[in-house]
Amino acid sequence: MTTQVDTEDKPSPAKGEVYITKERCKGCSFCVAFCPTNALGMTKKMNAKGYNLPELTAPEKCNGCDLCGLYCPDFAIFGVRRKKPEKKGEQA
Amino acid sequence: MKADPSAVATGVHFIDGDEACAEGAIAAGCRFVAGYPITPSTEVVEHIARRFPKIGGMFIQMEDEIASSICIQGAVWAGCKSMTVTSGPGFSLMMEHVGLAAITETPCVFVNVQRGGPSTGLPTLPGQADVMQARWGSHGDYEIIALAPSTPQECFDHIITAFNLAEKYRVPVFFMMDECVGHMLGKVRIPAADRIEIAERKFTTRKPGEYLPFKVYEGDQPEMVKAGMGHNIHVTGLTHDERGYPAMNAEAQDRLITRLCRKILDHTDEIAMYEEDGIDGSDVTIVSYGITSRVAARAVELARAQGIKVGLLRLITLWPFSDRLIQDVASKTKSLIVAEMNMGQMVLEVERAVHGKVPVHLMGSAGGAIIEPEAILARIKEVAS
């Protein structure tokens, strides 16, 4: 099964980015509470089950450390480090 | 397939039923045994503990019978033929995992060398009062197979049958010995390995992604699998679907439980093993099993010497219970006496199957000593008169 990721977040100069699968989220806010750079915030937005969703509220702060991915008990979010754009010979 | 010649103790031996049972299990290909000491079954695991390191088997004495009865199932899912051995109170402790083996369709063998109960009861003396427990001991609806040997030779021969049936039907099989049969010494002839037919576990040949572990592709059983074949199986004691995933609703329950029962009940007559002697036209037929059937045979001799027409039906398969067999017997005799070392267990099945066609009497006992042939003879005379 393919991952359903929601990538509404615009590309940014940040070192990392997060992917959120909204329908899996149960709104526990672990990702927000323990994001080391405070890049994530809880929102008033809800998913179909009525859980409040987190969002990358300060995308420029995300360093892609994936602590949100480690904490998320619902497998609904994870972070990745962006590849450095200046690097030559990027993988096709 | 044939038994492994490097493990089979071919020859003529003078051994007890417990040891014969252990040798039979070895011949059947059992290479994993978990047990816990309990009289009068201990000699089985003691013999296994001596023999297994010399034939590549793995024996472990677990911390209790609850552990033993599930440890063997872990080994089955690793691909082994496995058994556990117990008596009385240990059998009670194992009931939880009889249910697990039934719902997960784990082929394995439970040996019960029966003693007098309930509770600690009579550790060193015989009984046959666990036969209903073998059938109904775990909660819920399920079917099992149970065999009752009556001699050390049968302990050898039929424990092999027990393993073969476990594989064929993917079901826990009970080997219902008793203290007398277990401790009785007798001549046991162990054939050459190439004369011993054993069931090979047939693992699925389907590829990962094309196989569901609890789907019946052909016949009545799902195809067997083991850990490490790449199928990423899930095995659960919860009611499950063909994928093995929990499915907790009435439809899934109906589908699974009906199949678990039908896969045994539809083969009752194939599974039924018995011996009959002089039933046709008899005034009385004794129905018996295990050690009591040998006593009954003597009583039948004594009765015939006195001119009474007596038949004998010796059940080897106790469960599934063959109604057809009993009904057939009932049509050829005028009355039935069920002789068993309990207060009346299999007699209930016989009465149910006979359904009032002929009178059914009980020759029971509370256990602790075998029923004397003279006592059965007296009952025969009473019923025949």
Binding site: M1, T3, V5, T7, Y19, G27, C28, S29, F30, V32, A33, F34, L67, L70, Y71, C72, P73, D74, F75, F78, V80 | G29, R31, F32, F52, P53, K54, G56, G57, M58, I60, M62, E63, A67, S68, I70, C71, I72, Q73, G74, A75, V76, W77, A78, G79, C80, E96, A227, G228, M229, G230, N232, I233, H234, V235, T236, G237, L238, Y245, P246
Partner: protein, 285 residues
Amino acid sequence: MTTKPVNPVEPLLRMDRIPHIWCPGCGIGTSVNCFARAIEKADIPHDKLHVVSGIGCTGRVAGYVNLDSFHTTHGRAIPFATGLALARPEAKVVVYSGDGDMFAIGGNHFIHAARRNVDLTVICVNNLTYGMTGGQVTPTTPLSAKASTMPYGNFEDTFNLPNLAEACGAVFVARWTVFHVRQLVRSMTKALQRKGFTFIEIIAPCPTLYQRRNKLGDGAATLKYYKEKSIIKNGASTAEAGLGFQSEIVVGEFVERERPTFTENYAARMKEVLGASFVPYEGPK
């Protein structure tokens, strides 16, 4: 075209069973994240890794991991795993279950498997309660904490799990909370790579049944408590690892030692006594 990255936990999961049944703020899923990363780091092929669970909320882990996995009976994951591990020595068998399952009904099995040093990695998610059945007292519920069967507060002393595991013979003993995700990944990796009976206790919230009944806030509040009140003491004496109600939590890797496993002891003894007539067990025939 760039491919979307995959959540690193997903290769371990049966995605056709997600979302799972665990409550919002439950710590079990967090432990599974760590487990997935540890498997990756330990570099164990998936066909040689099996998970066995008992019954209860943590017992459902076996149903979510995409490995050969076994959801057994209440308290009996360890003896099932013992059979599986002894009969299939080439595999790594992990027992993943909860505190009630493993230390109340299953306590006897735990102590004996540790004593025998069966080659098992035992992971206990300790949420201090029976979640699935509605919040009853377990052997780890702290003194004075309320449970549905301790409505006036628990008055029974508790097990100190690392201390118990060490006393019984475990060769590796660690405790973390679900706040300590990176440390947990490291300890799980070590445990998976080690031979013998390895034990990891993971303290986790049960917001629905433990935290709420004891007015301790939600899952996130509990993780904040873990952050504030945990003291990392690698190599600490497990005797110091007892837990009280909302007390400090000593976490770390406490025990690392060598002991021959059940299988090694078996082979050594048989070789010594039986010599050439010993035929080692080499898997099912």
